[in-house]
């Protein structure tokens, strides 16, 4: 936005003239000059007795007022323009006042010289207020100097009294510096507004930091889990090996064999659990070009008996000619397996699982609609949290769906859940289409 960039620019040059170390030195020189001018002016006025007419002073006061008005009007939006307008008006008014004081012959110099000098100073200084004030004063001094020396192309200038010139210069210096002072005050206001904005953005940062801190325990938990998994994997592997040897050495007829087999089952479960855990923190496999329909077919074939035992009927409606998915085949298999097993477990008394696939040139999807009780609203998002399970007593780890979503997201895909109470749950997995050759998968 133009307003914003102007504001930031103004803050920049306001800073070098007002707040910087160099700015402070300039301030000192400026004050000394002004005081010297004021003293000289007052002294000359006292000696000479010449004073400007009330109308001239009125015009000067009016110019100052107009300048202030310009600053106030453009204070918030486009402050640089405000200062430009103010200075232009101020310079023009000073010029007209000069004409009144010095005579019509001085008009061209006054009417053109002062505003031009003011605008030139303003644009050179990037509208830095004190720079403009100085440019204005110096410009006017130069004009007067040239006029006094007869170098200015105007006839009646020789008549100009030194005291009047000095008074002029003095008033101009006061007005322009006054305007600059007001502008600076305006700038301060702008910068304090900027500070407020900065504070706000800091508050935003704090909020983000707090949010990050809130997710930090999850990340820490992740690291903890990875470490725990590693620590457990060695003893589990040792148990598995030793059980193998023990079972091989125990005859089929040995009454202790069933006990060993139970231990073996327990160890197997631990091994599987650890495998799931390590999958959770394993970096992604390289995305290949996977035929979603085929992997779905493989998984259902693999689960055939389990689905029959669970009394779950599967109906499939596969889109033909789907482009290949950009994901590792093993990963996609794992995701589908997790989603299907989750649906089967949700339908404890059996039911129907409708599977549909489809997609476009960007991504393809598989949707799994079950006829179970559905997922309560409150659990809909939580089902993707690690360790969230409603089946812990049945050995649920609460990792299946969260791992699946992680895997899909790593490949730019997504796993979504929709549910209406009583109408079952619908899980949709989406995978990006593999780039490159336009190779169609099998129907």
């Amino acid at each position: 936005m133009a307003g914003e960039s102007e504001e930031s620019r103004s803050r920049g040059d306001g800073g070098d003239g007002v707040d910087g170390g160099g700015g402070r030195a300039l301030w000192g020189i400026r004050i000394i000059l002004l005081v010297a001018l004021a003293l000289a002016g007052v002294g000359l006025l006292a000696l000479d007795g010449s004073r400007p007419e009330p109308a001239t002073l009125g015009i000067l006061a009016g110019a100052a007022l107009l300048a202030l008005l310009g600053l106030v009007v453009f204070r918030h939006r486009r402050p640089s323009l405000g200062r430009g307008v103010a200075l232009g008006l101020g310079a023009a008014a000073v010029g007209f006042a000069s004409v009144r004081m010095l005579g019509p012959a001085f008009a061209p110099a006054a009417a053109l010289g002062a505003p031009l000098v003011a605008l030139a100073g303003a644009s050179i200084g990037g509208f830095g207020p004190f720079l403009v004030a100085d440019a204005l004063t110096l410009g006017w001094a130069l004009s007067l100097g040239l006029a006094s020396g007869g170098l200015w192309p105007a006839g009646s200038l020789i008549a100009l009294e030194p005291a009047a010139s000095l008074l002029h210069l003095l008033m101009l210096a006061f007005v322009s510096n006054g305007v600059a002072l007001v502008t600076t005050w305006n700038l301060r206001e702008t910068s304090s507004q900027a500070e407020r904005e900065l504070r706000l953005s800091r508050a935003e940062q704090d909020r983000l930091a707090r949010e990050l801190a809130a997710t930090e325990p999850l990340a820490a938990a992740g690291r903890l889990v990875a470490n725990v998994a590693h620590e457990i994997s060695n003893p589990v592997q040792a148990m598995d090996h030793m059980l193998f040897v023990l079972l091989e050495e125990t005859p089929e007829t040995d009454p202790r064999r069933p006990r060993l087999l139970t231990v073996k089952q327990a160890v197997d479960r631990l091994t599987q659990y650890l495998e799931q855990l390590s999958n959770f923190y394993r970096p992604p496999a390289r995305a290949g070009r996977v035929d979603l329909n085929r992997v779905l077919g493989d998984v259902f074939q693999f689960l055939d008996r389990q689905l029959a035992n669970a009394n779950v009927k599967v109906s499939q409606e596969m889109a033909t000619g789907l482009p290949p998915a950009a994901i590792g085949e093993e990963e996609l298999r794992q995701v589908i397996l997790n989603v299907v097993l989750n649906a089967v477990e949700a339908m404890s008394d059996g039911g129907e699982l409708e599977v549909t696939t489809g997609g476009d040139s960007d991504s393809i999807y598989a949707a799994f609609q079950d006829s179970g009780p559905g997922i309560p609203e409150a659990d809909l998002q939580r089902i993707f949290e690690p360790f969230f399970t409603t089946k812990r007593d049945q050995g649920g780890s609460g990792l299946g769906l969260s791992i699946s979503r992680r895997i899909l997201r790593r490949h730019g895909g997504e796993l979504m859940a929709h549910s209406r109470p009583g109408a079952g749950a619908r899980l949709v997995l989406k995978v990006p289409v593999a780039p490159g050759r336009d190779e169609r998968g099998s129907p």
Partner: protein, 136 residues
């Protein structure tokens, strides 16, 4: 100093060197592989393993990755230069694609994540020994 035995076998049994800094994994691996029918030597760290490799040639080296001193990957580099015929099976408790790729680039024949299932372990070691017997 003993002459280096280049056969990789003692009394017909293929030799396997197992390296892991975890004692219980080490003894369980040794017990299993011995039961299966291998001559097993164990080492608790990379340096012990490097010493063992200097004395004898092994058909298969099974090594952990993260160990104090010489890591499994560094050990793998030595094996490649000292006894290139030894097949290396790298096992890691912190499996990652980077480690797997590094191990494979440095000449590991196989990579497995812990906990290694016994059946899988047997299959792998058998396959590596068979490959060793076939190759010249």
């Amino acid at each position: 100093m003993r002459a280096v035995d280049r056969s990789g076998h003692i009394g017909g049994l293929p030799r396997v060197l197992v390296v892991d800094d975890d004692e219980i994994v080490l003894s369980a691996l040794a017990a299993t592989l011995e039961w299966v029918g291998y001559e097993v030597k164990t080492a608790r760290n990379g340096h012990e393993a490097a010493q063992a490799l200097r004395r004898r040639e092994y058909a298969v080296l099974i090594t952990d990755v993260k160990m104090p001193g010489l890591s499994g990957i560094q050990l793998l580099e030595r094996v490649r230069s000292q006894t290139p015929r030894t097949r290396v099976l790298v096992v890691s408790g912190y499996p990652s694609r980077e480690i797997e790729e590094e191990a494979s680039a440095k000449g590991a024949a196989l990579f497995l994540a812990k906990p290694v299932d016994t059946t899988r372990l047997r299959e792998c070691v058998d396959a590596l020994v068979a490959a060793d017997e076939v190759s010249p």
